[in-house]
């Protein structure tokens, strides 16, 4: 076993190099666009509810922490794939305002996992020129995590690639409420009158303001649950929802491509007239 170590290391190094070269090729000339997908119909903003990590672990008799770890690996791969396919914004639901009720051990593990992701995995994202932002009520997160977040956001601020939003201690109702409070303060201070409040006002005060594509075109939820679980609510008014049976650690690049194909087949009318 010991003598095979270096050989295995060599192979895995070679494999990584090969993967990097392949990725680079499809990035550079863009000709290798997956079959069945049209570049011009790609969703600009994809959102994912990464559900099923705990069930995946339980099914295998593993502690839930390993489920979250497996989910993290998948999230990295999916983020890179979305970036390669030309998705402009990817939002992932990592931790809800409602998740604090989970066992203390699990919450503690998750906070440590997020710190680790920011410290190590974010370098991969930054290498892919991604701009990273954390949305949600950061004030309740551990101070160490908060400062890592600030550093990560600062260091990726001028990147020009895909925008990656990680929703941490976030919920749709929290977002609408914090926007409402900001707007109400402006009314109280005379900056805005109540009559001036319109949907655009809200767009400007939600956590997804100041970006080109704040509203997801496609929302994927894994693990078969048919609900939004208080993820983005205002922003998903016209979003195509896709519910996938697989648990998140089982969701692979093929599933992502299939989801994108399904999205491209849909007809979006926005309440208006359809041309039959």
């Amino acid at each position: 076993m010991g003598s095979h170590g270096p050989i295995i290391a060599c192979f895995s190094g070679l494999a990584s190099l090969l993967k990097f070269r392949l990725a680079a090729t499809s990035n550079a000339d863009g000709a290798k666009f997956p079959e069945g997908l049209k570049r011009e119909l790609m969703p600009k903003h994809v959102a994912i509810i990464m559900d099923g990590n705990r069930r995946w672990a339980k099914n295998r008799g593993l502690p839930v922490q390993l489920g979250h770890k497996a989910g993290e690996e998948v999230m990295k791969r999916i983020a890179v794939k979305c970036s390669e396919l030309g998705v402009k914004v990817l939002t992932v639901f990592a931790f809800s305002t409602e998740n604090w009720v989970r066992p203390q051990e699990e919450v503690g593990f998750l906070m440590k996992l997020f710190e680790q992701v920011i410290q190590t995995d974010f370098n991969d994202f930054i290498r892919h020129d991604m701009q990273i932002s954390i949305i949600g009520d950061k004030s309740r997160l551990p101070k160490s995590l908060q400062s890592l977040i600030t550093t990560a956001e600062e260091s990726s601020k001028s990147n020009k690639g895909m925008r990656l939003f990680i929703a941490l201690n976030y919920s749709g109702r929290y977002d609408i409420t914090q926007a409402t409070k900001k707007i109400a303060s402006k009314v109280r201070d005379g900056i805005l009158s109540a009559q001036d409040i319109d949907e655009g006002t809200f767009d400007q005060h939600l956590e997804t303001s100041k970006i080109d594509f704040p509203n997801p075109d496609l929302l994927i939820r894994t693990s078969g649950e048919l609900r939004l679980s208080n993820f983005m609510l205002w922003q998903i008014a016209y979003t195509e929802l896709l519910f996938v049976e697989k648990l998140f650690p089982e969701f692979n690049e093929g599933d992502l491509l299939e989801a994108l194909r399904s999205f491209q087949r849909r007809q979006r009318r926005y309440g208006g007239t359809q041309v039959y």
Binding site: E98, V101, S171, G172, R173, I176, T177, T180, K181, I183, A184, V187, R188, A194, Q195, I197, D198, E199, T201, F202, E225, L226, R227, L228, S229, N230, L233, W234, I236, A237, Y238, T239, E240, L241, L242, F243, R266, R268, Y270, G271, G272, T273, Q274, Y276
Partner: protein, 278 residues
Amino acid sequence: MNTLANTLFGNLISFIRRILFCILSVGPIPNHVAFILDGNRRFAKKLNLPEGMGHRVGFQSLISVLRYCFDLGVKYVSVYAFSIDNFKRKPEEVQSIMDLMVEKFNEMVEEESIVYQYSVRVYIIGNLSLLSDNVRLAAEKVMKATSSNNKSNLIICLAYTSTDEIVHATQESCDDKWAKIQSSIDGEMMEGKREGCFVIKVADIERRMYMGVAPDPDILVRTSGETRLSNFLLWQTSNCMLYSPRALWPEIGFLHIAWAFLEFQRTYPYLEKKRKEL
């Protein structure tokens, strides 16, 4: 022979329906079911019906669905009858839908209607100022006539979008707080207390939402296979079960309702647990 076959088939369907009914009645029944009535136009096109007939047929489906829901014990049924976005459609289509609404609102106040059979309180909610006078008057008439009904509730969302509802609720909350501040200035209230008065809480906004008349829905059904909310009940469906059968709205039947309720009953224990945790 044909008539006999038809009768037997009809009896079999009734029998299956009664069995399903009994099975469903054993488990928890959703308190509030919301529907996005999608597919009327596609149905009319499919059957080569004249334009506008799709919505008429759709209305008959609504009556059947209301019966199923109220018979099973559902207390609130909401329907997305007309979105603010739908004003973008051809004027003739918008007009024919409005005419159909007025006709049906007037029928509702008649004694033989489902509204009286099930003692349904009807609410028509949305940005009603966007409607023409005759529609608004017919809506107000049916709301007034049914205001003392108390067995079940039908909420018809007309000229509604969720984002408009949230904006409107925020405006009203601000106006209300501003009025409080003004009166506190007159009454010479202390600075600190005035500050506290103006804090807008979630409960303030929710109270002023058009949908404040009902609890959050337990199930949201959108027919015709489209899986999106189209700006319907965004705030209220944060934890609601979503169901999108392929059937067009006029094709919806008891089996679809039964399936939705069974799925609801399957996930109910998990939801209850979550509700208690929060």
